[in-house]
Symmetry: C6
């Protein structure tokens, strides 16, 4: 995790901000479970589970609040 | 997901903002589970499940905070 | 859902704002599950389930944050 | 629910604000489940269930954010 | 619960603010379940349950937002 | 827990802020369950459980909001 994966919260567009929010939600999982193999296996299960998809969407929503504020809501 | 589906967080009315919040909550699911077939199947189950409907409503509420702030609460 | 059900986030009192938050939490469910018949059936179950009542209260709390901010906390 | 139970979000102290947050979390439950008899029965169960106690504490935390902001954090 | 347990949201340091957030999360539980005996028994179970530990950490995070804002983020 | 583990919410970069958010989410668990032995055992289980990984990511997201605000979003 030594690479620089989050140079800024600024994005050119709301959509790019949303994609950054998705990335942030995944990075927290990656930091807790660094094994690509385990994450890939878990993903095969949870992407068929609506409860977990909704839970993932929730995390994205929280990060999107942060990214949107950082970009002054792209006003 | 190359299309431009989120050009702005600005909406003319609070109600349009609420509908955008619903869209945002669904897009995060779509990014995690891109298969229309799988999402349609999951939807048939969760739309009969009050726990998941409440969880979905929660995600919409978080996005609505963001959209409302972006629109200065349509004051 | 073509009716205008959310003309404004402004309310005269905190209590009216709280009631609007309850309405917002229900509208998101209604958008996801438009069938009155299904929602009525689900309601009969979840209103006897404390976990789901707490989850509903949580969604109301998130919307109340939004409505309260929109009204400058009725200061 | 015709009584005026929420005249203001202002409180004299942080502690009174916290108590108001507890009240708000309960009122949302009461609006969804108006029967005192049912709520009393549910309470007997969930007050012995740590998961639900934590979930309740979470709702209080969200409302406390709102009340604290309304009071400018009692600065 | 007549004692004055929350005189202020101001703390000297971020760490003291974090400890206050922990206290706030516990006080909401205590208000809902005032019995020390019951809470002690529940604690023995949930402190061995990672799901509930994460849920507790979540509540602390929400309160820490409030306390940090109250202290202008100790800038 | 007498050591000074949170001197400031300021970080030089967004990525360092994200790492601080991860630390905050873990410290709340540590305060509730101080035993390293128990936490290590629990970790072995939950890091294989996608639901708990998502829940952890959620807590990080809440703390990241706080840290990002404290740093004025590293603008």
């Amino acid at each position: 995790m030594s690479e620089n994966w989050l140079p800024s919260l600024k994005t050119d567009t709301p959509q790019a901000g949303f994609e950054l929010a998705v990335k942030l939600s995944r990075m927290a999982v990656k930091i807790t479970q660094p094994s690509d193999e385990v994450r890939t296996r878990l993903r095969a299960a949870y992407e068929q589970d609506s409860e977990q998809l909704i839970a993932t969407s929730h995390v994205v929503a929280v990060h999107f609040q942060t990214v949107a504020a950082a970009n002054n809501w792209w006003r």
